[in-house]
């Protein structure tokens, strides 16, 4: 069980705000942190990693205490068993992929695990390339592999898929699911994409202005309880087009484009970029084998 109760004053672009987070996550769960930019998501992740010092509270990881204001405990990042995947991957440009992975091993004992990880992630062929020669997806896999070699208890992912194209995202999401199951790691992932969160996580934490505003399973957080449709999809609004007396909204769901007819009142509340839920309950969907 990870128990977190931290407070820290942050200086954001729109003035100062108080990051005030209390949460508990069971061991081995996959939790996503969702929210607008500037909500304090990355700061929370860095506090967990020990890169930023909170002002008050405690962080307990199973039987260990990583931070406690009361007992003046502050474990440095090096002593916390964590793996951190940064948004920009932060691969060391002066080392090959293999050196990036071995650099962090204190001795050669863990080599078996290293080889296992390289095999799972299919990195063997790229071992002697430097990061600048790798594609975004390959760099991402390398960063993930590097975060795993030290056998962390906690995996922290800061928008790991944000700079990848949808296809690569899908492949790597599967990879993360596989790795999460294989190693049974407790994972925190920052994400802006509800469909990604649905696919990957057991638990969602929605943050705004430094506070948790909602938390629970993905369906609890993203779906209003009164809707119990037969089909529920989440997507992003691309465009709202006026068409005679009705409005047509173009929504991208995964890789598919859908047109949904809405009223003028509804159209006024939507703009491109909004996340939406599409559901239907009156009609039975038709399913055909392809």
């Amino acid at each position: 069980m990870f128990e977190i109760e931290v407070k820290k004053k942050l200086h954001a672009s729109h003035g100062s705000m108080l990051l005030d987070v209390t949460l508990q996550i069971e061991q081995g769960k996959f939790a996503s942190i969702y929210g607008k930019s500037g909500a304090g998501k990355t700061t929370l992740l860095k506090i967990l990693a020990g890169l930023i010092l909170p002002e008050e509270g405690f962080i307990k990881a199973a039987s260990e205490t990583w931070f406690s204001k009361e007992k003046s405990i502050h474990e440095i990042p090096q002593r916390r068993k964590i793996g951190f995947v940064f948004q920009d991957y932060a691969l060391f440009p002066n080392m090959t992929l293999y050196e990036n992975l071995t650099f962090v091993l204190p001795d050669k004992k863990n080599k078996k695990r290293l080889l296992e990880i390289m095999e799972i992630m299919e990195l063997g062929a790229l071992a002697h390339q430097v990061p600048a020669m790798l594609s975004g997806g390959q760099q991402q896999r390398c960063a993930l592999a590097r975060a795993l070699v030290r056998e962390p208890d906690l995996l922290l992912l800061d928008e790991p898929f944000s700079s990848l194209d949808p296809e690569m995202r899908y492949v790597l999401q599967n990879e993360i699911i596989r790795i999460h199951r294989h190693f049974g790691l407790t994972t925190f992932m920052i994400s802006h994409d509800p469909s990604e969160i649905y696919r990957l996580s057991d638990y969602v934490i929605e943050m705004d202005l430094g506070k948790i505003i909602r938390q629970g399973t993905p369906s609890e957080v993203f779906q209003h309880k009164e809707i119990s449709g037969k089909i529920q999809l989440t997507g992003e609004v691309l465009d709202v087009i006026a068409n005679d007396i009705v409005y047509v909204v173009k929504v991208i769901v995964g890789n598919n484009l859908m047109n949904v007819v809405i009223t003028k009142e509804e159209a006024l509340q939507l703009q491109s970029g909004d996340k939406v839920l599409i559901s239907t309950k009156a009609f039975n969907p038709v399913l055909m084998k392809l």
């Binding site: 020990g50 793996g83 940064f86 932060a90 060391f92 962090v104 204190p106 590097r146």
Partner: protein, 196 residues
């Protein structure tokens, strides 16, 4: 020093940066004059060095080295500081979260990734020191065989109308300086090519 400057948030940073930049702005004779005063055995600092380290810095070769280091300091500090500031913070953070100690992170991650800036710094400092005149004249006093440097030698030769000798020295300096700069730019170009 550069690493510390790149990361520090102290409010004295502008003061420190100004002190480091002084040699860029001050006439070399001003710097030389104050160094001469400070290093002289009559001053407490010169006295202290003489007494505890048996170090005499006025009119000696050691003095030339120390004053040249101070004089060329900004040429080393600025490129290196800028390079450290341009490195993404996540490199250091990633290294820490992977259990790597700060000193190993510094030598194995930070330093190798600012190599071009280090090289530029070293070469510029060297070239700048080579062409140094005022400070070495004040501190060294141009004693033949000890503190007489090439740039002063040229001046002396011209003063005594030995244009041939002056020309020889000058030509050597010109060729050496050009070669150094050529190597620097050639190396940087090659490096940029490898990276793109």
């Amino acid at each position: 020093m550069a690493y510390w400057l790149a990361g520090t948030k102290t409010k004295f940073k502008p003061v420190l940066e100004s002190i480091i930049s002084l040699p860029l702005v001050l006439p070399p004779s001003v710097l030389g004059f104050y160094l001469l005063l400070a290093f002289s055995p009559n001053h407490w600092f010169g006295n202290f060095l003489n007494h505890y380290f048996n170090l005499r810095l006025v009119f000696t070769f050691d003095g030339l080295i120390v004053s040249s280091i101070l004089y060329s300091f900004p040429f080393m500090v600025y490129p290196v500081q800028a390079a450290f500031q341009n490195l993404p913070a996540s490199l250091k953070e990633a290294s820490y979260t992977l259990g790597v100690s700060p000193s190993k992170t510094f030598f194995k991650v930070m330093i190798p990734n600012i190599k071009p800036a280090l090289l530029s710094g070293i070469i510029l400092t060297f070239a700048h020191t080579l062409g140094e005149f005022g400070v070495v004249l004040m501190i060294g006093g141009s004693i033949p065989g000890i503190t007489k440097v090439a740039s002063i030698a040229i001046y002396d030769e011209v003063e005594s109308m030995n244009y041939d000798n002056a020309n020889q020295y000058a030509l050597v300096l010109l060729v050496v300086s050009f070669t150094i700069l050529l190597l620097l730019f050639w190396f940087n170009r090659k490096r940029n090519k490898n990276h793109s």
